[in-house]
Symmetry: D2
Subunit: 368 residues, 4 copies
């Protein structure tokens, strides 16, 4: 219900701006007895962290997570092991790299593509320091929550990859999940051949003081058939809502998505046969793992579109709070393609949606 | 929270299957003092009604709405005027055309592309008569609710149109809103030139015992700037969730949507100037009327993709509950393109999302 | 969240006024596979039904429930058996005894103790026919929902009884649950000796054109230890909210309740020993079956206070919509003690709260 | 919906245990533009703070609040002025007095009256350090949230007082609100004559290694008529739920509460006349400021019962996790009457409920 929460039984509330002392999240409803280490959370945060290549913002943040509640230390040889107690888990990340600067102009001008104007209209005031709640900093809290969500569903594996940056698509024939996590791959791309293409393309974009969008694909394996519900709680709906809630996202699709509108019923039907394990199996996965809003047991496939970074060095026409017409240039350490770092964020949202659906399904039906 | 509700302050709960005695909705939180007539509701239901052309299901339903609570008769010359009292509004539509037939095979077989298998896995049983909650019948209740939602926001106008059926796109240069509602336009298309194209295409599809998908665009004018919220309650998120909750929808986008991922920041920025009315105005609307999750005051533009009707006369391979491999042919009076009738449904969901955002904004800020 | 719903996973939304065509409820989230008959529902409605003795309103309502969705007929010898499918269950009760009358005065005058004035202030208008949503008619829908809630938790038994009418208390030493349901007991009292006392007392109250309040006790046996949660979702909280949401209720307590404030820690502690079944057992139940918000496994005991019926034949001073000072006499067929019929209503609310807690507990912990 | 949140539009989520590094809350949905200072929050926290007299726990906590998000510094002469931005407000309080000790026995034994046993049954494990979420420490976060809630409704004033400690009642004829806040009044009592009575009584209780309960009354002035809603969102219900969610609370009542059950309709009716300001006024306030769930404009009066502190030095019989029968003595620095410090907590919950109802009413009706 609330403006800053996501989920029903596995409910995540995030708080914090990019230029306050810290940001964080509270996870309410996490099952008790889940074992994890702070390193599990930190690993996901590090994947999202800025400053790792020249293609992302050079802002330097330690992004070190502190776990403040909802856990107990676990007796045993593993020194830093924790276990969830079932009470709310509060996690906090300090903002360490808040350069003090003169926000004078930004405080008054409406940057095109930003939420400056709409915040002012809505609230009558706005926190102009670093974009407020619409800053990409907020997503660190989601990633921390997602790291725990991954552990709620036994056997769940949620991975993501870039499938397009601006006009450049990957070749799906080269798909290699291992590549995605490789240190020398700055793009979360699964196609090795795309790396030099993206490098050249983004260098050109940066030189022209511009930015570009991206498309990310998330794949969740190990989702038990039966999660989700018809109609307003379709698993598609929950995933779409989660992904669309990420800043700069403007489109979401499941399975064939918009391409499904181009197909015929014969082409789109995922036929079924009996599998060698004596259980029904699907011969294709056009549905992206969801039929009637309910998981089929096949991998869940979702894609989302991230618009180009709105903060660019090229001047754009705008107005200020006083009604003067101005030209705006947004300086600062901005990602030329904010979509790249959206990969672990998208994974986190899908993991949260699935963890929530798992608990909801167990609650209503007791069948898991 | 619940599985069958949509919205927070303007909250719609729908109920009913296609083969029970009736279906309906309860609208909780509708403001008091809204004047309307049953004809206002009926008009929207008639737009969605099956049986109006050979391109939609031939099932015959009166789809006559009964208003059971939450209203008072309005004194005055207008005999059937009603006014909302602020208490829950219950609306019911009887199912009149439930042909009795032998469901034996359908009860046992899993139709590809349908939710038959996933219902069985989830619930351990399913209402095989007419698709249960995943039937398009359910959407009548949404349309009834949307008819009232339209009246909640003064000056709001929500319209929709088909922009593609299968491989055939409309020519946006021909866009004519008046055409969309014309009696001799069976497609909700805004492009007159597309009518014969769609007719020939769909006749061919039907003859080949097949079906096809569609893309629908919804445009909302008169949305006050400020509606929505950052992050998890982004107006984009609420609209996306509403549209994705419609059965057979697999993709949703706002403004440029997936195309925004292909654009550069320079191309995508909606520049601003001062309007002749002394208020900020946008020189373009790539954002689809929403920045940072909050309405800009520009028209809100959303599109959604509907997959092809899964019920087709062409045989497809599947399995049954007993684990036998079978071939399934789905007879019956099905829409060759279920996307056509989705236009008023999409309008209803967008209207509900905006009405809800209007009340939420008024609640939190008091600024409207 | 919504104004007219109760519960989280087992979520009941009620609708309807006393003088519209019908009223009803939608139950969302009911588990699939629950067997019941319409007679199970009807039995509870009949217990609440008006007109059964001279001590309750003489309004005559059939209170016949129609089940419109969310169920399937069950194959088998039992002709009218139904089974829940997991989709929303809509139940409707028609209003049959709406005497047409002149509401002129009531429409304009504010009856003391009624919500007439507050409705007008809140909504700017009100449905003056029969009290609108504040009519006791609304509670029929709760009782229908509660009848199903009782079946959600295996082994659950929820019973209620009158423990005081006005100044007259029962003797708890005479407690006899069988008596409560006996046909010749018009008071739901568990103390046979109280029957003539209540009869004489209420006859006197009626003759003096007055009314009186009551206190009801609800006892739930078979509640599994572990239901509930600390803090805001304390099982005490959920039960208190449910009972307080009944019209005319002004107080709620769990276990010793207000008397616990008078006790010392030594007196109030429910000591524990090991039971003969090898499980912990409590030597007393001052806590009313709930510690820290979580069920102990002991019977849950709740009491609630119902104020005297506000509709009385004795004239009371008031004002009207135009600001004139008036004397109001409320004619009609009103219960001299509306608390009597509140027994099955209280049971229904407690059953709903426990069913919801059961699903929530199963969802979060999987431990049931 | 979630287990650790309270409210709908003004939504407070608390987190933290008494023995972790910190505890806190997130307030989501607070209106923008509310001016306050950290001292406003700190003032309320100090009122609740332990260690101020020998009648409350001697645990020493600074209870210093840190505001981490959702605010901006206010330009102006007042150096520490803050203004809410409309985004989530995170507040944190560090736990400074966590004596390290051997929890061995407490970890294994179930203290009578505590939630030890029920936590173990529910979650399969529990945080035995200091009572976990059921610790009174959690209430500090509520008080911080309530301090802000008080500022949401213009003109609202929420005050509370002790009306009984154990068997000792105050004399309502002596009621003096100024006394309640006086430094030399350790009991929040409004009756000066009660101070020596309570002192002697509690000293005796402490000497006998016992504890005792209390009854607290909260009065809210300046609540606009119209707040609340019929049925499940009755303002009575929201207040009752808020108060009942405080640990150790076992009963709640509004206005005459349980005494209303003893009254006749003639006695209980709050008669109305026209006030000198030309608006309707009530000649009494038996209803406690709420009719039909909606505020009348009269002061809202609520009372709640706190059970005696369960941690006592007198040995009580119990069992341990291994099923051994034991005698438990709970050492430590516990409040002999935990109800005393419940006064500001109850105020906070009532303030939060009213702030939420204010925003809900404004959202649905726009009439404020």
């Amino acid at each position: 219900m609330s403006y800053n929460s996501f989920g029903h039984l596995f409910r995540v509330t995030t708080w914090g701006e990019s230029h306050g002392p810290s940001l964080g999240c509270v996870i309410d409803g996490c099952p008790p007895g889940i074992d994890f280490t702070p390193a599990d959370i930190q690993h996901e945060l590090d994947r999202r962290k800025p400053g790792k290549s020249r293609f992302v913002t050079q802002r330097r943040e330690a992004d070190e997570v502190k776990i403040l509640s909802g856990v107990m230390e676990k007796s045993g040889p593993d020194g830093d092991g924790l276990v969830t107690t079932g009470t709310p888990i509060s996690m906090m990340i300090e903002n360490t790299d808040q350069r003090s600067k003169d926000y004078g102009q930004i405080a008054e001008q409406y940057r095109p593509g930003h939420a400056d104007y709409t915040y002012d209209v809505k609230y009558g005031l706005r926190d102009y320091r670093g974009g407020g709640r619409s800053s990409a900093r907020e997503t660190a809290a989601r990633v921390a929550a997602g790291a725990l969500a991954r552990k709620v569903v036994p056997g769940l594996r949620v991975r993501g990859a870039i499938v397009a940056i601006g006009e450049k698509n990957i070749d799906r024939g080269n798909w290699d999940w291992d590549l995605v996590e490789r240190e020398d791959n700055p793009f979360f791309t699964p196609d090795e051949a795309s790396i030099p293409v993206f490098e050249a393309y983004l260098d050109e974009i940066r030189k022209s003081h511009d930015s570009v969008g991206a498309i990310i694909e998330i794949v969740a394996d190990g989702v038990p058939a039966g999660l989700g519900a018809p109609i307003y709680a379709k698993l598609d709906t929950e995933i779409a809502a989660g992904l669309m809630s990420i800043n700069a996202v403007k489109g979401v699709e499941i399975g064939e998505g918009f391409d499904a509108a181009r197909l015929t019923g014969v082409e789109n039907a995922d036929e079924m046969r009996m599998g060698s394990d004596g259980r029904p199996t699907f011969l294709s996965n056009k549905a992206g793992g969801i039929l009637g809003g309910i998981a089929t047991g096949e991998p869940i496939v979702a894609r989302f579109a991230v618009k180009p970074t709105s903060s660019i060095l090229s001047p754009r026409r705008s107005v200020d709070r006083q009604g003067n017409e101005v030209e705006v240039v947004t300086k600062g350490r901005h990602d030329p393609c904010v979509g790249i770092r959206a990969v672990p964020i998208g994974e986190a949202m899908v993991a949260c949606a699935i963890a929530d659906a798992f608990l909801m399904h167990r609650g209503q039906t007791g069948r898991i």
